[in-house]
Symmetry: C2
Subunit: 576 residues, 2 copies
């Protein structure tokens, strides 16, 4: 591609709403432009990258035996009413009416449509297992779209849906997709982790997320330094600490604590180790589970309650809702800063770590007072124990091997065992070997195709711009002729290299913009665009029959013999 | 691809609403399924064809120097208000509101969005000319969607938009796109005609449609048997007939014609040649153009008024509206079956052919009476003459070479010079060589990607199913092993051929479905799916070291030496 005939839409400034680095760099590199909130146009450079991601996803899905289909964006509301999700989706789903006032939605996902196809096309167990996928535009009407294409409203997704007679068959395809996703993210050149994910809300049996590691990620993932264990933080079990609870060594005593409403204040004012303090969190109970409608969850002062773990307790209302101060006062008689397990008039569930504490301090359920020296069994009966807290770096790995590290990740893929929920709701049944009708069991497998582009940048950039993994680069090679307007030889050499490399199938950007574009701007654009291999043709180098080569990830430039350039590049530029 | 692992969704019956052959065959061959009115899912076989069309379109657009972009489906209403088209589009445009009650549309086309991009990204004449294209999902809320994907509501379109400083530059890119479209339709293997099209409504300077010839087409196109001339029927000029008007030879006479309200009745009852009769059509006039608000348009009895030509007359109201009988009676004093040019109290415009008539008959503007033996000049002054009628087969070609033929066509592409309309409305300006701001001039170039699939079938089918042009076939080669469950050698040979051909890069469908699928069904499916090259492996042939080959377009089968099969196929299967 010649830069003079190509929209190099690089810019210096980015708007204030571009807060993460990938959003800023995609705007600066001229990859995308905002049309409206959460709606982006992909300019030529961005689209080249997007198409490379699409191609790798498609090749690997095909290789895995999945069959590509293409479903409409616009879906009839009836299908969503049939599955029971029409109201569940809330305002995230974009509703629309056609000219005949029939209700439709702009599909945020396609479980309903594919299950409708399956119930019509699949009639016998012999047609199973089968896995249909598509690469397609979805719309989710986020309340506050942000981070550019990372959390856009209109986006490109690869969604796949498999159909099976048995759970074993589903598990087999699930494993196949898991391996396929690993191949896809390996080929893309991303540093990622498949992590155990929560499958509770959708009622499924198993679920993994594929997380690209990046400091800007919104998800926390925990993984072991001694094994393959990796899980979304809410799925990482905080195991029961080793050892027994120490015997009581202090007396229970009531202390005035008028200035201590928080754990930090308690620790500071009374010289209490934080591991000897307790947070008492009062939340609303699931209807009918407790008399007062409240339940107390206790974690150690230095631990954090994990909402997803809490929501799995039968006593706890979903979504997790903290009780209001008025409610707490009415039932317990004290404010939220003075609560504790001793004589608490509502059911209590304590974290595993709390169950091993002794001689600890906690609120007295009376304003401005705490009990110190509390011991389970002696002062208050040991309540129900559960895994309530988020794991922390340094915790033992749940598989018993190594300790946990915590990193941030960007979810770019998700594999999920759906089970029979949709097939049962829509009546998608096949005849089994015995001629009996059975609802099929399903898996679903998503990849955020457009999000991958942003996630790759979050993971691969420096102060000068993007550093593309080779497989995703918009161009593999960039050629900058220096002061070509003064030297016909420079331009002729650049043109010859461009033709030779292009003929060999490389994707090359020749910066043939005229002298009004300074060499500095051309260099900066090549770095910003993140092109892996850069050649500079100059009079100075040509005098020695040389050319300057720079690898985007390297600090230094090299001088190459001009005659060897094509061959040397061939050894470096990897196929995709 | 193995049929046992692939959704061969062939069916025998099609619903009553599938009235054209492509719609029926696409359903029967399992290419598409209807989700709702005008909304179709592309199943694997259909999508394979669609992707081939997309690929050829993309390759040729890239080769032509156009740059691919990808714009959102959902567009802000403000842009359409700015261009002035928000209300013009009527209910064809799908309106929607997001969760914040902001107005959007599902884009039926993208002139507004691309012009918005152009006004932001293009600032200097040096960036011009430039041509941006995308292959993308559009939605047009047709009142009555029909003919399957031929006139669906959601469909795939390639739309391109070029920007220029001068009309010459626009003309150059227009010619480039015209040639590119010819290459695309040539490569697709379609019998098509680029035809002159009407560009009036959009105010543009030039316009061609690309029409695939097919009996089911909804457009009429006229083309010369003696030259390259081809035009949409409303754009084909009906030239002034050769020769002079004959001198009067009959007396003007008033005749009672109580039973003759139509041309056919007049011809039959009075033995009048139809070429001696006139149709007088009274239509509403453009405001202020005539006193009565009406104008009469006259064509010969055997000719048809062409609406598009009539609408180009300044006196005629757009859209063309026939006057009501009440209106005609009030102004003229007679019913529509008794009108004619003699003493007609409203302005008259006559077709060229009418101007050469003599001794002709027409209504007397008095119920149940006609004048016979009318002659221009003697009985009534010659009115304004214009080209009012549609051309007919046998008419002279407007370029003076050969005579016209009329065929039906399906519009699959359109190139159009838009001019400065959008750039002016949205303020898309660049600086010219003299540093002055100028609105850009634009071209737009559309291809109905999904419609091409249907159009190709309309043109290429027989009683057994689809006959794909090689470049569009879902698979190039089909292999049918006969009674493989009885003969391991048959299956082994089929598998070996499948591997060899697949390794060579051919797309092969191996029908390895088990014995429950009869040979007859397998043969029928191969024909229905339209796979160009079919190999049948059977015990009988193998005994002679032979294999059966059949070309989809050929009537007869051939026996090939097994050893030569791969080589012979290689000579026949063309690359795409």
């Amino acid at each position: 591609m010649r830069a003079s005939r190509y929209l190099i839409a690089t810019v210096k400034e980015t708007p204030a709403d571009a807060v993460i680095v990938s959003h800023r760099l995609m705007l600066r590199a001229g990859m995308i432009r905002k049309l409206a909130s959460g709606l982006y146009t992909w300019l030529p450079t961005g689209l080249r990258v997007l198409r490379k991601v699409e191609r790798i996803v498609r090749e690997e899905m095909d290789r895995a035996g999945a069959q590509e289909v293409f479903m409409p964006c616009v879906q009839p509301a009836e299908l969503w009413q049939e599955s029971g999700r029409y109201d569940d989706m809330g305002p995230l789903m974009l509703h629309l009416q056609d000219r005949h006032e029939r209700d439709f939605v702009f599909g945020p996902t396609h479980e309903e449509v594919i299950t409708d196809i399956a119930r019509n096309e699949l009639t016998s167990y012999k047609q199973l297992p089968v896995n249909f996928y598509q690469i397609q535009t979805k719309f989710r009407d986020e309340f506050r779209p942000r981070f550019g294409v990372m959390r856009a409203r209109e986006f490109i997704m690869k969604d796949a849906y498999s159909f099976h007679l048995t759970a074993d068959s589903l598990q087999e395809e699930y494993d196949n997709m898991y391996r396929t996703y690993c191949r896809i993210f390996d080929r893309l050149g991303l540093d990622y982790r498949p992590v155990l994910a929560d499958s509770g809300a959708m009622g499924g049996a198993a679920s993994h997320e594929f997380q690209v590691l990046a400091d800007s990620g919104e998800d926390y993932i925990a993984f072991s330094d001694g094994s393959d264990f990796a899980a979304n933080i809410e799925m990482a079990e905080a195991v029961m600490p080793a050892g027994e609870r120490a015997a009581p060594s202090e007396e229970l005593r009531l202390v005035d604590t008028p200035e201590a409403k928080t754990i930090a204040q308690l620790v500071e004012q009374f010289d209490l180790p934080i591991e000897k303090t307790i947070k008492t969190l009062v939340v609303e109970a699931e209807e009918g589970q407790t008399e007062s409608g409240l339940v107390a969850l206790l974690v150690r002062g230095d631990h954090e309650l994990n909402e997803v773990k809490a929501e799995k307790l039968p006593q706890v209302k979903v979504p997790l809702t903290m009780a209001s101060e008025a409610r707490i006062r009415a039932v317990i008689g004290a404010g939220p800063g003075s609560l504790g397990p001793v004589k608490l008039p509502i059911p209590v569930i304590i974290d595993r770590a709390v169950s091993l504490m002794s001689d600890f301090g906690a609120g007295a359920n009376e304003d401005d007072k705490h009990w110190f020296g509390i011991n389970w069994g002696r002062d208050v009966e040991l309540p129900e124990v559960a895994d309530l807290r988020s794991v922390q770096a340094g915790d033992p790995s749940p598989d018993g091997q190594g300790t946990l590290q915590i990193k941030k990740g960007i979810e770019v893929g998700h594999v999920f065992q759906l089970g029979r929920k949709y097939a049962e709701a829509l009546g998608a049944r096949v005849l089994d070997e015995n001629g009996r009708e059975q609802a099929m069991t399903m898996g679903c497998y998503g990849i955020g195709v457009s999000r991958i582009v942003a996630a790759a940048i979050e993971q691969n950039h420096d102060d000068n711009g993007i550093i593309w993994p080779e497989a995703m680069a918009p161009f593999q090679v960039g050629i900058v002729p220096l002061n070509a307007h003064k030297s016909p030889e420079v331009m002729a050499t650049a043109e010859r290299l461009y033709s030779e490399l292009t003929d060999l199938g490389y994707e090359v950007l020749l910066d043939d913009r005229d002298k009004k574009t300074s060499p500095g701007v051309k260099f900066a654009d090549m770095e910003l665009l993140g092109i892996p291999h850069r050649l500079v043709v100059s009079d100075r180098s040509l005098q020695n029959d040389q050319i300057e080569y720079k690898y985007r990830r390297a600090a230094d430039r090299e001088e190459w013999p001009l005659a060897d350039t094509v061959a040397r590049l061939g050894n470096l530029v990897s196929g995709t």
